[in-house]
Amino acid sequence: MAAALELDARGKSVAIVEREASLGGILEQCVHAGFGLIHFKEELTGPEFAERFEGRVASSRIEVFCGCTVLGLEPDGEGHALTSASSSLGVLGFKARAVVLAMGCRERNRGNVRIPGSRPAGVYTAGLAQRLVNIDGYVPGKEVVVVGSGDIGLIMARRMSWIGCKVRAVVEILPYPSGLARNIVQCLEDFSIPLYLSHLTTRIYGDRRVEGIEVAPIENGALMAHKSFAIPCDTVLLSVGLVPENELSRGAGVELNPMTNGPWTDSYLMTGVPGVFACGNVLHVHDLVDYAVEEATRAGRFAARWLDGSRPERELRVKAGANVRYIAPAKVEPGRDNKLYLRSMIVKNDAALELRLDGEPLKSYKKAHVQPSEMLTATLGPEDLSGAKPGSVLEIGIA
């Protein structure tokens, strides 16, 4: 919606094609608060945040097609052709000069993290359980274990407790929680839910229904199988990460970055396919919707400029340095301000973001605290990049 609004504001004719019955994506099921602190300067719930944007879309000239699944994207003369299907409109084709991909992400599931054991009923991803509880009104179980300590898992631990379920434990393979400290406090400590750090889920057992899981501690990198123990439960919720949903992009010939599972883009957020842009969780997984909106607004602005014939002038490659998992986008344009998002590989207090141009120190920002679950941002303007030569490489590391 943010990308479409920006394109509309710049006089372009825009359509939003949405698979779900209403706009807003994952926000609709995120009924907890914590959204919008940056964008609206107040703490909103997911549906409230979405509704503000829906209101803006409704009063714009944007055409909205809900319940409409895009099945294919391919080149068509100077532009692109999209094929979609919906139960109310049948097969519907769109022709567009530019396409902004904003399909979001998908949850990693049991197969992705390879948890051994039997295959009983009662194993859900945390987001699916969230949808069942908050939208469909079903309670997926009574006694719950959450595997993985991502924010969705923590939020669901509280949600399940609040609907009368007993949450037995949260099990995390890493030595530190993946979610925010505030969620550990508000979602686990308030309900005295134990958090097992450095513990691997070694088995799910149960015949027709889950009867429990087995976990074993990891000490100095080695699995202590002899110290394994069982946690009885009838429901397992998996909160083990998100992966950008790029089936459509792949089919369109968009090249993906293996570090983010999202498209490679230039400084215009344009993928390798000219005229196809990407933003939000389909590009890389964000932890704040405010950042996703900010990025989408920029994608809309760049797509509008691209349609007007503007192209990035001279771009520098951006390289992830020490302790940085990835940086998006992977290119900057030295002549203007560039906003970069990056993710740390380490947990550290009093850290510094160190920027180097062709190996020479350029700039350093202090960061009170860095951790992999909290995305970092950096803005680079013409004054920072004035020393850039053709073929220069910008490297950002964390020390």
Binding site: E28, V31, H32, A33, E43, L44, T45, G46, P47, E48, E51, V133, N134, I135, D136, G137, W162, I163, L180, A181, R182, I184, V185, Q186, D190, A368, H369, E374
Partner: protein
Amino acid sequence: MEMTCVVCPLGCRLAVERLGGDDISVSGNRCPRGAIYAREELLEPKRSVTATCRTAPPALERGIRRIPCRSSAPFPREKVDGLLSEIYRLEVSLPVRLGQVLISDALGTGIDVVASRSLE
């Protein structure tokens, strides 16, 4: 006692001491909001409550089963369970507007429960 500040994502570790009465000392906070949080958390802890409530039968037939709602302000923690029971007893008829009061003055706290989504 130790606590983690939850005002912002930094999550400062706070050391809080009760000096007697309502007098407390706080250290470890990186900003003044931490001291305010520690004081409230120790003396009268509050939580922002969000949930969903049932829709009345005509909406059910259209497949709309739940309405998201929230407390209009952080709610006294010891009364949260009571508030949730009130919310789960509700049956809301459509249309509903965002911000519409579903329970006013919940459990005599002066805090309302409001809808966090409009639905026709």
